[in-house]
Assembly symmetry: C2
Homo-oligomer: 310 residues x 2
Amino acid sequence: MSKYVFGVDVGGTTIKMGFFTVEGELLEKWEIPTRRENNSENVLPDIAKQIDLKLEEKNITKDQVAGVGFGVPGPVTREGIVKMNANLGWKDKMVAKELGELTGLKCMGGNDVKTAGLGEMWRGSAAEFENAVFLTLGTGVGAAIIVEGKVILGAMGASGEIGHIKVDMEETRSCGCGGIGCTEQYASATGLKRMAVELLEKCDTPSVLREKEVDAKAVFDAYKEGDALAVQVVEKFGHYLGYTLAATAAVIDPEAFIIGGGVSKAGEPLLEVVKKYYKQYVWPGCRDKVFVLAALGNDAGIYGAASYVL
Amino acid sequence: MSKYVFGVDVGGTTIKMGFFTVEGELLEKWEIPTRRENNSENVLPDIAKQIDLKLEEKNITKDQVAGVGFGVPGPVTREGIVKMNANLGWKDKMVAKELGELTGLKCMGGNDVKTAGLGEMWRGSAAEFENAVFLTLGTGVGAAIIVEGKVILGAMGASGEIGHIKVDMEETRSCGCGGIGCTEQYASATGLKRMAVELLEKCDTPSVLREKEVDAKAVFDAYKEGDALAVQVVEKFGHYLGYTLAATAAVIDPEAFIIGGGVSKAGEPLLEVVKKYYKQYVWPGCRDKVFVLAALGNDAGIYGAASYVL
């Protein structure tokens, strides 16, 4: 009888491990570093070892474990193959198969953002919606597109790349994707910081940001205090992200937008500024959508990973 | 034993009727006018009468008919209710139920664009794709979003409203939806005509369009001859539509774009100009998508309607 399941969220710096009951109760979570040397050859063996150690510690046999779910950055096929991941140095890596052989357990997984979206569907803010967009605002901007209760993959696992919808035709700098003027260049933590630093250099407007280290949190903190320069930066952030969510709504007509990732810690004021511009750009039939913060924070990935197996 | 099925495509001017075998062979098609007086109260009785007459003519009993499928403009719920249709004067009209009572047959249906998309999936250009966007360029711009072999509805039946993605922030004129700078204002038959007429008035560039009635077909004909003014108009059309399809790809990652509607009669040159701008704006992982013309033309609606019942 399967009683337990593991959920593993593989990031570029750390691997988050979760040990759950099959009912979805998180019994324990911990992290190990992502050892990226030699094309991350140790990553899967390290995960397998952590699973063995945990089971030994708890005196649990493998026949009591339903399996291991995982989330990995970049596109992942239905079969659990990572086509290409520059960060980890993986190419056509059969993650599900290899991890299955290393652990002797059923292994299934997908892209990390889609996996976090699954987590929010299973145990978080997306649980009550059949159609929704789960958005993560972190180093980049990614989304999981939920249609009729399922996170859709797309033809090549590339659905939800709305961070690369073009929003600024005057931009001269390139995005990481090679495009110019992508949403991600403004609506990510990196983008917020860059916009603030540039504006601080370009003008003399007094700002609390002149006296501290500038990052996404500092920008939103200053915004909440009414700092004029931070207001300019956050309005631009809200404008571009609101536009992109309006375009997304025109394609799939979701019930709700669930906003997660590090930047979402700014809370309600972030939702308000995004909603303001969303309503300006969206087709009138889609004006009244729910905007809500993600509930699981950094744990969304391990929850979603576990849910693959169940 | 059900051998036959009807497919009905209700438009603002005409109602297209199709009589099919359950295998999908179109045996006969014909049209009747849409009588819109008194909130189109005659439309459903007229359809029921046509069905009775056809069965009488063919000496076919109703137990040999699987049912009647229909497509109607505007949002239609899963239960076949038209929430609001200004053109027909319908509000909370229970089309499936009423037509079922009038005909004594099983009736099911949906929005006209989504229905045409179903038709292309069943018997047309979308048949080989699991994930695709069926686009109709007519008086307006509408789309059916096909995900994993199904046309998705969205939260309120408003998926595929990509004609209302904003593309021109300098526009001063309003779209029919109340927004400003919508794709539909440039990528529809109406939009092409308006852009050409305005440009003809504004400049002195010689153009074959100065000597004839200007419509979408005339603009594309002149474009194919290299007419400088028509080239300007079609480039703007391609630019805005290409942008919008790139944004759409970032959301759902389809395999293909299937382009139908009256404007699509312009053929390959239309696909080429749209593709050029699509590639300029799209996320690199989605560059190589199939662009193809719809196969069923005006019959897509009756095919799709019939497919609801099967």
